[in-house]
Amino acid sequence: MVVKIKAFGISRDIIGNREVAFELTGTSVGDLRNTLATQYPDLKKLKSLFIAVNQEYASDEAPLHETDEIALIPPVSGG
């Protein structure tokens, strides 16, 4: 399926875009994480990379759907 991903902070700089569409093999957040790591190896250099689904932090087991709002959350640094 095709998913759209928002990228923030340093993950946006690594991916080179604020938003990318992505052909995903698999159906879970973990599958997405693996595909991303292959395509953008620099993501593995991050201290952490959370994936939010519909504006909530999601675990690797969480399922993904084409209509989900998906976002990459590298280490936050607000405040």
């Binding site: 340093i10 640094s77 405040g79």
Partner: protein, 148 residues
């Protein structure tokens, strides 16, 4: 109230929004941009937020603080966009019946905000370097320079 704004934060407005007649104590935390980070001179910062999620996460933090310390009032404002040294980046104001709770609750909120709320700051240094704070694993700092 919880807000993410791209203009200077009106600190007095945030404090007023958090104050309450039944609370005797207001604790306010104000985070400002320092002119220095680990001996390098900062010229400006850029803050960005994943806005709807950031507001939702701040809301969760406030709900948790309210459960634990019984807030009589609260307000949080985080600025985004370009900031310079001395500018206010975040203001958290909480009121409680007694002062000890106001300190504990406010410290909980800022500590948790820094861990969970999707906001990022990119630092711009005098020497031309930039970096996303605390993003990179140790021994990978070269990425900092790779990504401008």
């Amino acid at each position: 109230m919880i807000e993410i704004i791209d203009k200077p934060i009106d600190v007095q407005k945030i404090i007023s929004a958090a104050s309450s007649r039944s609370g005797g104590a207001v604790n306010v935390f104000i985070g400002t941009v320092r002119n220095q980070t680990s001996s390098k001179k900062v010229t400006r910062l850029e803050y960005e937020a994943y806005e709807p999620m950031a507001v939702a996460e701040m809301n969760k933090i406030i709900q948790q603080a309210d459960k634990q310390w019984n807030l009589t009032g609260w307000a949080v404002s985080h600025r985004v966009g370009t900031l310079h040294p001395g500018d206010v980046a975040v203001v958290i104001a909480l009121s409680t019946a007694h002062r000890k709770e106001s300190f504990e609750a406010c410290q909980y909120v800022i500590d948790t905000l820094k861990q969970t709320v999707p906001i990022w700051k990119k630092e711009f240094f005098e020497d031309g370097d930039t970096c996303f704070r605390a993003s990179i694993k140790k021994r990978q700092t070269s990425l900092t320079l790779l990504i401008r």
